[in-house]
């Protein structure tokens, strides 16, 4: 999308990240970079290690081995399940996290996020009574409050309706255009093809591929109009 804004130093770099849960290796020596303004999609089958990778990048988990170039405070995080308080209203949730993030002007940040998520008219509703999709919108807004240079989203669109999904990608596109690096995971590989500059294919904790969606299709050959089919064939050829 906005490859022009890429500067020399990557906005985020992971080097040789390995994560073991007991004897199970969830990640094996994963290395990758994301440039400023770049949108990277992490795709792969269930249990591939996508959430594990993103949560290590976000600083929630510590890797067994390997390094992450940025401290968690400089990274925005949108977890797979909405991480917000059901008993607080939309505005209260945003204000609380703005204060915890030590945002300079919390009220202005809240107003900005309410406008961006289109939830201004639900600002005073308790989160517990909101629909799953609206809750996810607040979840995303919380991740954006501090205006971080890198934003990580774990399956952000999974509970959104098509219109909201559209709005989400528009919104993310605008952020990337402003220089924010975006790393997201998804099972909707069509989204990865459409919105990502680069895809990272993870399976069994290993990076099988990194490059543009087009390059992935070229690796497997075949029908270039069906990225999903190409992706499945790619995994199949690699024994997954």
């Amino acid at each position: 999308m906005t490859v022009e804004t890429v500067s020399d130093a990557p906005a985020l770099r992971a080097g040789g990240v390995t994560k073991r849960f007991g004897r199970r290796e969830a990640l094996r020596g994963v290395s990758f970079e994301a440039a400023a303004g770049e949108v990277v999609a992490v795709i792969g089958p269930n249990g591939a290690g996508k959430t594990t990778l993103l949560s290590i990048l976000a600083g929630i988990r510590t890797p067994t081995e390997g390094t992450v170039s940025r401290p968690p405070r400089e990274i925005g995080w949108v977890p797979q399940q909405p991480a917000v308080y059901g008993k607080l209203s939309v505005a209260e949730n945003l204000r609380l996290f703005a204060r915890l993030e030590r945002v300079a002007d919390p009220d202005a940040a809240v107003a900005r996020m309410l406008a961006q998520t289109g939830l201004a008219d639900r600002a005073d509703d308790e989160l517990g009574v909101l629909s799953g999709g609206n809750r996810q919108r607040v979840n995303i807004a919380v991740g954006l409050l501090a205006d971080p240079p890198v934003l990580l989203l774990d399956e952000p669109s999974s509970s959104l309706d098509p219109r909201q999904r559209e709005r989400l990608w528009e919104f993310i596109g605008a952020l990337a255009a402003g220089g924010t690096s975006i790393v997201f995971s998804t099972h909707n590989v069509g989204e990865a093809e459409r919105y990502a500059d680069r895809v990272l294919v993870l399976a069994d904790g290993e990076v099988l591929f990194t490059g543009t969606p087009r390059a992935l299709e070229e690796v497997v050959g075949g029908d270039h109009r069906d990225f999903e089919a190409a992706f499945v064939r790619f995994l199949h050829e690699r024994g997954h």
Partner: protein, 452 residues
């Protein structure tokens, strides 16, 4: 941390049902347990030593012999006696917890009773010895009240018998009559008739003669005796407590039962409110998935634990202080020790808070955390309240050890000590609570790392 704290208060304010439950439930439980403790079991085990040599247990009252040991059986109506041979053995039984207390009947009891009956001057009253293990005021109270009640019965029976016998002899002495001694009948003239006879004789004698003067002085003496023996009923009634009890306290200081029950009620409330709140509010952070957001640089793990600890401790402290002040309106508490109440409640709340966050850290959801909190809190409370006499001494040692690992016993001692100058040592209990607080915080922190 301030914002998180305010957020939690807001969440609590919006969960009125939860708050009412959280406060009402422990208060009700605590009051019920407090009430139950005020009663105590029916027949406590009491070691019994009879030092009176066999065959030396009878008293001579006038011509009648009564067996004093018969009155001892009065004492056993309400206790389960363990008969032992020596006082030292009895003390050992009490110390080990096998008996709740001991009753020692000294060897000289019959002699002293006999002296008392003979009114032979300023002797020590006949005295029984009661030995308590004071470590737990409930059982001390049980032994004390039981023995007191039984002793009163024994005294009443004994003094009724004494009064009746003595009264009969005095009556014969005063008014005359007949009684039998060693199979022989004696007719007694009686003082009143003796005096009348003497007066008649004196009038017949020439006035001023030495004989008349001698007879008159005897008659005056008889008059004096008659007047004074008329008072004998009152004198006898005052001898209605021939037996006395001497208390020997084996160890520790004592908390009067009502205050002990207050301490138990307040400690139980304090425990439930704090532990449930701390465990629940910490687990809520994880249940709402906010935990992972918070610990990545927004709030340190220790600060998060500290926030939940302070939140739960402040709420529980407020609830129990109000509860204690409310109880103080009905039960006689020493308001001069208010500062100690505050210190004990605060230290207890903080220790329970630390235990609560440890449970919240171990469990991932609010429901699991609450269940864990109740599952752990209830048994430790009951363990800490097991009276020494109720189980074997080795099991009791195990119970004491286990109780020391949880804040309940220490908090109970602290609150008991705060309510009573003579209660358990407040300083030691506060130190114990401080150690437990640090240990549980460390456990909570480790659990958060392990299970995050």
């Amino acid at each position: 941390m301030r914002w998180l704290f305010l957020k939690d208060l807001q969440i609590l304010r919006r969960s009125p049902f939860l708050v009412v439950l959280l406060v009402a439930y422990p208060v009700i439980i605590a009051v019920l347990i407090g009430l139950a403790l005020s009663r105590g079991p029916d027949k406590p085990k009491v070691a019994f030593v009879n030092e009176v040599p066999p065959g030396d247990s009878s008293l001579q009252i006038g011509s009648q012999k009564i067996d004093a040991s018969r009155y001892a059986s009065e004492l056993f109506k309400a206790v389960d006696p363990i008969r032992v041979a020596t006082r030292a053995e009895a003390i050992a039984k009490v110390r080990s917890g096998e008996a709740l207390g001991a009753l020692v009947v000294p060897a000289d009891i019959t002699r002293k009773l006999q002296d008392a009956i003979n009114l032979s001057g300023a002797q020590d009253p006949p005295t029984l010895e009661v030995i308590y293990n004071i470590e737990d005021p409930i059982k001390a109270q049980i032994v004390e009240s039981t023995i007191k009640a039984r002793l009163a019965d024994a005294n009443t029976a004994l003094s009724r018998q004494l009064t009746r016998l003595a009264g009969r002899y005095l009556d014969i002495l005063l008014r005359g009559g007949s009684f039998s001694l060693l199979g022989q009948r004696f007719d007694v003239l009686g003082l009143q008739r003796s005096k009348a006879t003497l007066d008649v004789i004196a009038r017949r004698l020439p006035p001023g003669s030495p004989d008349a003067r001698a007879i008159l002085s005897v008659s005056q003496f008889a008059g004096l005796a008659i007047d004074n023996l008329d008072l004998s009923d009152q004198v006898l009634a005052s001898v209605n407590q021939p037996l006395r009890v001497r208390r020997t306290v084996l160890q520790g200081r004592r908390t009067p039962l009502d205050r002990f029950a207050v301490a138990v009620s307040v400690t139980i409330s304090l425990m439930f409110v704090t532990v449930l709140l701390a465990a629940g509010m910490l687990a809520l952070e994880r249940e709402e998935h906010a935990f992972s957001r918070l610990v990545r640089g927004l709030v340190g793990r220790l600060a998060l634990l500290g926030e939940k600890l302070v939140l739960s401790a402040v709420c529980a402290f407020a609830v129990t202080l109000v509860m204690l002040c409310g109880i103080g309106l009905f039960v006689n508490l020493d308001w001069g020790r208010f500062g100690f109440w505050v210190a004990a409640l605060a230290a207890g709340a903080v220790a329970f808070g630390a235990m609560g966050v440890a449970m919240g850290a171990l469990a991932r959801e609010v429901r699991a955390a609450s269940l864990l909190a109740i599952l752990v809190a209830l048994p430790i409370a009951f363990l800490a309240l097991v009276p020494a006499g109720a189980v074997t001494s080795s099991l009791y040692d195990v119970i004491r050890f286990v109780s020391a690992l949880f804040p309940f016993r220490a908090a109970l001692d602290a609150i008991g000590g705060a309510l009573n100058a003579g209660g358990p040592g407040l300083g030691a209990a506060l130190a114990h609570l401080a150690v437990l607080t640090a240990a549980y915080l460390a456990l909570a922190r480790a659990a958060l790392r392990r299970f995050a």
